[in-house]
């Protein structure tokens, strides 16, 4: 094991035009999570370049990457990752704390985003008082808080039932129609079929990249 260098990703090259809606699929161990981490600025590739919004991520230091994650990327996780002590509003405000947005502007934007994802009535609820679908909507509102160039969603429907999955996918579709670029990592085919383009990965390589018919 130790001496062998394992490349989680190899010869992966693709570009995402603004406003695209992509699903990355593949079995576990195919490298799709690593790809997501690299696109999201959580991980840095040992070789190769990643240019997002004109910025070369390889040239950013830790502080630059933090700023990149804050302003350019909106993360949506399988397990929502809301802070349990905070209200829905406060959770949505969280990324704006790190971008230095003034409090009043922050609250106005969080409120507007919660209205947008259909949780106008639940702004002061805490995550434990919300259903799974509602929690994921809060997380999506949070991801949109700093008007990111890309929404990165890692198995966003993995913890949701079929009906809720449909609702969340409808929300994504609507956001995409409004111009938001979205990349979803999933292993569910129904989810992938809801996007515009599917990239299939296996053993760290892209095996197919085609538009959804």
């Amino acid at each position: 094991m130790g001496d062998e260098i394992v490349h989680a990703l190899d010869k992966v090259s693709f570009s995402v035009p603004r406003g695209d809606y992509i699903a990355v699929i593949g079995p576990s161990g195919s490298g799709k999570s690593t790809l997501m981490n690299i696109i999201g600025g959580l991980d840095t590739p040992s070789a190769g370049t990643l240019v997002v919004n004109g910025a070369d991520l390889g040239k950013l230091d830790d502080e630059g990457l933090a700023g990149f994650r804050n302003k350019t990327i909106g993360f949506v996780f399988q397990s929502f990752n809301l802070l349990p002590r905070l209200t829905a509003m406060q959770n949505v405000e969280l990324p704006m704390l790190y971008s230095g947005t003034p409090p009043l502007e922050r609250q106005a934007r969080a409120s507007q985003l919660l209205d947008r994802v259909g949780l106008g009535q639940r702004k002061t609820h805490r995550p434990t008082q919300l259903s799974g679908g509602q929690q994921q909507r809060v997380a999506i509102a949070r991801a949109l808080a700093c008007e990111p160039a890309v929404i990165l969603a890692d198995e966003p429907t993995g913890a949701l039932d079929t009906n809720t999955t449909k609702e969340i996918l409808a929300l994504f579709k609507e956001l995409n129609r409004e111009g938001v670029t979205i990349i979803i990592v999933t292993h569910e085919h129904e989810v992938a079929q809801a996007t515009k383009r599917i990239i299939e990965m296996r053993d760290g390589c892209i095996v197919s990249d085609k538009p959804v018919s």
Partner: protein
Amino acid sequence: MMTPRDLVATSARALRVNPLRSALTALGVIIGVASVVAMVALGEGAQQRVTSSISSLGSNLLIIVPGASRQGGVAQAPGSFNSLTIADAEAIARDVPGAVAVAPSQRGSAQIVADGANWNTRIEGVTPPYLDARDWGVSSGRFFDDREARQARKVAVLGATVAKELFPNSDPISQRIRISGGQYEIIGVLESKGQSGFGQDQDDIVLAPLQTVKRRVSGRQGRANTVSQISVKAESEAALTQLQTDVETLLRQRHRIAEGDTDDFTVQNLSSIADTMKQTTAAFTALLAAISAVSLVVGGIGIMNIMLVSVTERTREIGLRKALGARRQDILWQFGLEAVALSIAGGIVGLLIGSLVAWGVTTLMQVPLVLGGMTAVTAIGFSALVGVAFGAYPAWRAARLDPIEALRRE
């Protein structure tokens, strides 16, 4: 980057999540600060009492007692040899320019009987300059004058305690008392001086003219013109050392003590005694404060322990915050601030408790309570320092967590 206001709000919220745990974590610092504050306040109170009680004996004062004499090579106990005389006192008053007041005195003890009451006390034969030398005064009546002193009149001035014991309900002035069989007229009562630095009640005393006491009370003890003590007052504290040298030189001359021989008298400089006692209490205060400071360090370790647990528990939160754009400094500040807030809160509560303890104990021990702003600032400053010192490592650990690992953690 997070604004300071948001940082404070975030840290405060985290501490409120588990109030009991926060309180217990701060308890170590509370105990540490409280004991340091109490110790320092007590020590400074004791120091102040030493200073004030020694200066109550009289300020800028030299007390000369016979002593440290040798007879045929055998050392005698101080005071056993009656080497001081009234003539010595007169010589000092005449020849030493810095001596503002010179007061020879003879000490004795006697049973005092008033109408139906009696009391055993110190009786001191003095001359009128005694009051000036000891910074004393009469609260009612008058003191005897030079003529009365020369004539060895049987008049007495009572200390406040004696006056209270013998005449609880009546004015002692002009009343008569019996001392060693003689009848004395009370002409005055002294101001109250309280306890001396050595625990003695300074008001338990009767003053009478020196000659009267020598003839009628101490009687055959020693030669007729010896005294047990000479008090010499200097103009100022600065002049005290010079005065002491002058007095010693004069007395060595008068007593014909050869160069290199031991003095047959001892000159006690009260302000140097006060200095020594102050230094001693200061050393004790520092020692006690240092011991208390150990518990402050233990409190700091408690904070570090809980902060490390907290960082582990909140790994996912840290990962999430990083994914949302928190820089290393943001996380460092967030956790560092929690530790500092805990220790400062502990410092404030500790200061209050320590002050309360100090107040209680000083009231009980009748020591003045000394609690300066400096103590407060130092206590809170030190607890903040403890927070920084012991919060730095957990915060650094949190800041350097890998966000991918952290997010994966269940």
